[in-house]
Amino acid sequence: MNSKTKIGIALLIIVLILIGILIKEGRQTNFNKNYQPVQPIAFSHKVHAGDNDIQCLYCHYGAEKGRHANIPPTELCLNCHNNIKKDSTEIVKIKDSLKENRPIHWVKVNHFPDYAYFNHSQHVMIGKVSCVECHGNIGSMGRVKQENELNMGMCLNCHREKGISPPNDHKSKAGGDCARCHY
């Protein structure tokens, strides 16, 4: 084997490895798993939902009413924090935001692509899916992290388990048609 052939084989292997990486990475759809961004306010879900056992729906009341599990209005924080820890630097940030009429720029943790429709209330109210099934044990997280992949495979696994047919029976739990989510 001359050196040219050796270089050729080495190059081929490198190219194959690159293609392999490309295929593997290119197919991957869970880039955001374990995403744990720093938030403008050091809000701890562990303290609120874990230690103090505040119900998720107290703040994220939209989750049982509509499509979005809303981030709570700033005013809602002060329902408690008008009395509790009212002088902490983080709470002062909230009060200032309200005073200055400037919403807090939270960093979005869970992204959902535009071409898929997800309705929280459908899952919470009809599917009786608990929040932690998708979002992980939020009550143990200081800073919130994306615990699961939140990709189509994850959706479908659950939809299959919960029964896909009969399709339109109001008692049924889930559906398997593309246009359940993609429209």
Partner: protein
């Protein structure tokens, strides 16, 4: 396919294209020739090197991209919790678009943004229907080229400064004994009418002048003469068994088309009643209404007038009631026709309705006379004489313009009208107005009139404003703001109050409503309850009755002699008409309206000269040939369009185009027809004679959405006459095909969606198309792309002609994705991006689609639309109109009608939350909801009680291209005429 297949009796009957009426195989082949396109598509083509560069870059970018996170996104919560606004949940508000154009409405808002307009089902008049114009009016809210801030002499300023300056100038005008004019369109808002009255009593020399050229002014003037009331009555087409219309486009543009379409369709519903309404239309050009008529006779305007006079004479002779002067000889005109029409009318005394679209007051007086002779008042025409309407008075208007010329005027105010463009001598008026020191403009959009004004006070769009409206027979409705004003604008009522030294129009409106209308109803006790409930419902029917007024015969005599004396017409007759989409050009900067194909001509983005095929042949013209039309010194260059059913000596042109001051969408599109209108015998006339037409030897391409129109010998349209239908419900729909399938068929369990479209009820008004655009984020592609046959509308309305081209019969057929059970598109998709759902819908999955376009090529109905480009949604205002529940499709993706799957899913969710099944009729698709004819029915075919399953079993039901055995879920009901 052999040529033999193209030639059968069926083809000889139906045709669609004037120049190619004779179907030869050469022409049919040309359908698929790309070089037939008159639009340049070369710059959209990339060469091979570009392709390699782009591919190389994308390929190397893929692994890079896969290592990156999606960019950081921010989520901003509300500061204060709103009681009503829950993110992701729509709120609905009732409001009203001025009855000049619109209806009683419901507006869907998401996160505070209006994203869809629907008809208010509580409205006893419009019953939930909306027009294309109303649907499109939503987009103009987000027009970033609206008047955005108050201006004085071209500089931005504040409303306070403007108010001060205006009041000072007004005082000066009063002191110098100069006149003050306020120009508005017709007003049906009781509170604004009252405010203007207060202004008139505060300022001497103040005069309110309604500038609204067109048919409404002639009708109002005629009612003034016949009944001494300048109001509009309520017409009841559903109470009539015979409608005789002299060029009144009452299904398209005449007075209140949505209301009339509702009535008309219900009166022609053969499922309810065998004795359906019969409609006769006499007109010079093919209007939408004429295209729906059972009997349509093409005649020029003067022939229409002669027919009307003949009819009156005939009926007074038969009934012995003398209204016309004795002994005057009538022009002898088609006595057999008149006898035939006259006998039909006499057979329907009190059950007929005669209407006219003429801008000639004399003609309208004669129409009133005929209705009076037939005893139609109180039966098919209701409630005259309410005072909550101020209509146009063309004579007063003309006098005011003369006063401006003489320099007697100290101040002019313009609200929502554009005389510089819509007046025949607008340029000269602009010059004369220079002598008026105070020129104030209240308008939403910049226009020719605002451009010559010294003070511009932008008004709120109707979706941002409070207002009240009164409509005969006694319906009160309100507009309420559904969004905070987007720009620095102020309601017109508020500005009027400031002229009176007061403020707070909302408070004024409430007080005025309490004083005027609380006593007229017994539904609610106390004003608080009345107000809250009426604002919530949007509309209330009052116990209102006006005293009946006697018919004034004396005036008829004057008008009669005026009409008989008419000088003979020469040259070409010219008619100015309103297009169903553009109407009078009020929303000239609205791309949805521009891209909406005209229901008859199927042309988008332009106006043109309509010309009969016979005249075109004589002059050697064909569609798209540029011509110059002129009268005296007025000249306009426009392309011609051959229109079957035109009177051969009449040409026509749509108003609302040729805007010189507008946004980038509306500016310099087409030409201004108002230049040819005339002031004649006290009216602004849209019927003009003595025009000349000259070919320029050039062409100007028109973007039509339908250019090849043959049915290729297939029974796509099935129709019959009521007499045959009564004998045999299957008449016209006898043909059945024996089908063999290689598929075993889908499992049809649970809910299975289906749609039925009643061709008898569809008038072709095109409201559904714009409604679909708004609901499904359908992009606007522009004229060139429409010309390249790349329009994106999910729903189209095919128009077919039948019979001779001098006076053809017309059929309208809405076609959207047919949701086939054996869908040909599904079997050719290499990536399974289009598949059948378990409830029978053909789903298009955008994120799977790679854009091979195989599906579109294999679709026999041509309903699939491909995104050739990323149609921009960059305008920060305009993008607010997007429906957040529907994906915005990107380039390279196929799309098509989804049967508003988002609405189905939403209704399902609501039903599931309530623990029940979805009810029949609970899901209303966007097209179905807005349809003023109730032609579209959607529901579950597995439910034997559902409306749609009953229609599917009906003898009239048929499916398009049944012989292909693709088993569409959309089916049609045969068209029934009443000849």
């Amino acid at each position: 396919m052999s040529d033999k297949n193209f030639k059968n009796d069926y083809d000889a009957e139906y045709w669609q294209d004037v120049e190619n009426k004779k179907l030869d195989s050469e022409y049919l082949k040309s359908e698929f020739q790309e070089n037939e396109l008159s639009f340049d598509i070369s710059d959209s083509r990339k060469n091979r090197r570009d392709f390699l560069k782009i591919m190389g870059f994308s390929f190397s970018a893929l692994p890079l991209a896969s290592c990156l996170r999606i960019p950081v996104k921010k989520a901003l919560p509300y500061l204060n919790k709103s009681e009503t606004a829950i993110p992701g949940v729509a709120n609905w508000y009732a409001t009203t678009l001025d009855p000049r154009f619109g209806e009683h409405l419901l507006v869907k808002t998401r996160e505070g943004r209006p994203i869809k307009i629907e008809g208010n089902p509580l409205s006893s008049q419009y019953k939930g229907g909306t027009s294309a114009f109303t649907q499109a009016s939503l987009l103009s809210l987000y027009d970033s080229e609206r008047n955005q801030s108050p201006q004085m002499n071209g500089n931005s300023t504040s409303f306070d400064m403007l108010d001060k300056s205006i009041l000072e100038s007004l005082e000066a005008a009063v002191k110098n004994n100069k006149k003050i004019f306020l120009y508005t369109p017709s007003i049906s808002s009781p509170s604004i009418i009252n405010l203007i009255k207060e202004l008139a009593s505060k300022y001497k020399n103040f005069e309110h002048i309604v500038f609204e050229p067109g048919v409404s002014s002639a009708i109002v003037m005629a009612n003034q003469e016949s009944f001494e009331t300048s109001s509009l009555p309520q017409y009841k087409f559903d109470k009539a068994k015979l409608v005789l219309s002299f060029s009144a486009d009452f299904l398209g543009t005449w007075l209140s088309p949505t209301e009339f379409t509702k009535q008309y369709s219900s009166a022609r519903d053969v499922l309810e009643n065998d004795n359906i309404l019969r409609h006769i239309q006499l007109e010079p050009l093919m209007t939408l209404t004429g295209s729906n008529a059972d009997t349509r006779i093409t005649m020029s305007n003067s022939e229409c007038e002669a027919t009307l006079l003949g009819l009156i004479a005939y009926i007074q002779r038969k009934t012995g009631t003398q209204v016309l002067p004795v002994g005057v000889a009538l022009p002898e005109f088609k006595p057999e026709l008149i006898a035939k029409l006259g006998d039909e009318l006499l057979n329907h005394k009190g059950q007929s309705l005669v209407v006219s679209g003429s801008t000639n007051t004399s003609m309208q007086v004669m129409v009133n006379t005929l209705n009076e002779l037939l005893g139609n008042y109180g039966k098919t025409i209701l409630n005259f004489g309410h005072t909550y309407y101020v209509g146009a008075n063309d004579k007063k208007c003309e006098e005011s313009f003369a006063a401006i010329k003489q320099g007697d005027v100290g101040a002019v105010f313009f609200w929502d009208c554009n005389p510089i463009h819509d007046y025949y001598n607008g340029k000269k008026l602009a010059k004369d107005l220079e002598s008026v020191s105070l020129r104030v403009n209240y308008s939403v959009f910049p226009d020719e009139t605002s451009s010559i004004c010294t003070h511009i006070l932008p008004t709120n769009y109707y979706l941002e404003a409070w207002s009240d409206y009164f409509k005969a027979p006694g319906t009160l409705s309100f507009s309420q703001p559904v969004i905070q004003p987007l720009f620095s604008t102020r309601m017109f009522g508020e500005s009027l109050l400031h002229l009176l030294g007061k403020s707070d129009y909302f408070h004024y409106l409430k007080k005025h409503t309490e004083a005027s209308f609380l006593a007229m109803q017994s539904k609610h006790v106390g004003f608080a309850s009345f107000w809250d409930n009426t604002i919530h419902d949007g509309v209330i029917d009052l116990n209102y009755s006006s005293k009946s007024r006697g018919f004034n015969k004396l005036k008829v005599v004057q008008h009669f002699s005026k009409m008989v004396k008419k000088s003979s017409e020469g040259g070409l007759n010219f008619v100015i008409y309103e297009k169903v989409s553009m109407r009078n050009g009020h929303l000239a900067n609205n791309p949805w309206l521009h891209e909406l194909p005209d229901p008859i001509t199927k042309v988008t983005w332009d106006n043109y000269i309509l010309i009969s095929p016979q005249l075109a042949k004589a002059l050697g013209l064909k569609t798209s040939d540029l011509v110059e039309i002129s009268k005296n010194s007025t000249k306009v260059n426009l392309p011609v369009l051959l229109q079957p059913g035109m009177n051969k000596n009449t040409i026509a042109m749509a108003i609302g185009y040729g805007r010189e001051k507008s946004g980038k969408v509306g500016i310099n599109r087409g030409a201004n027809a108002a230049l040819f209108s005339e002031f004649r015998d006290g009216d602004y006339r849209y019927e003009v004679s003595n025009l000349s037409l000259k070919s320029l030897g050039k062409t100007y391409p028109l973007a039509q959405t339908q250019t090849h129109h043959s049915m290729e010998g297939r029974k796509i349209i099935r129709e019959t006459d009521i007499k045959d239908y009564v004998r045999n419900h299957k008449a016209g729909n006898e043909e059945t095909v024996k089908l063999v399938s290689m598929w075993s068929g889908h499992d049809k369990k649970g809910q299975q969606w289906a749609m039925a479209i009643d061709l008898s009820k569809c008038t072709g008004c095109s409201g559904c198309i714009v409604s679909c655009n708004a609901e499904n984020n359908v992009p606007v592609v522009g004229k060139d792309e429409v010309g390249n046959r790349r329009e994106m509308h999910w729903l189209r309305i095919d128009r077919y002609y039948k019979g001779d081209d001098e006076n053809p019969e017309v059929v309208h057929q809405p076609v959207m994705c047919q949701h086939c059970d054996n869908a040909p598109c599904e079997s050719v998709c290499p990536v399974l991006a289009t598949v059948q759902s378990s409830d029978g819908l053909n789903q298009q999955v955008y994120n799977r689609c790679v854009g091979t376009r195989y599906c579109a090529n294999n679709c026999p109905y041509k309903v699939r639309r491909f995104n050739w480009f990323d149609y921009p949604h960059k305008d920060n205002y305009q993008r607010m109109v997007l429906n957040p529940d529907v994906t915005v499709r990107s380039r390279g993706v196929m799309e098509k009608c989804s049967m508003c799957i988002q609405r189905i899913q939403e209704a399902r969710l609501v039903a599931k939350k309530d623990g029940r099944e979805v009810l029949d009729g609970e899901i209303k698709l966007a097209c179905q909801q807005s349809c003023p004819g109730d032609a579209i029915v959607f529901g579950d075919l597995n439910d034997p009680e559902s409306k749609v399953s009953k229609l599917l079993k009906h003898e009239r039901n048929y499916r398009l291209l049944e012989e292909l055995n693709v088993l569409p879920r959309v089916s049609y009901l045969t068209k029934i005429r009443n000849k």
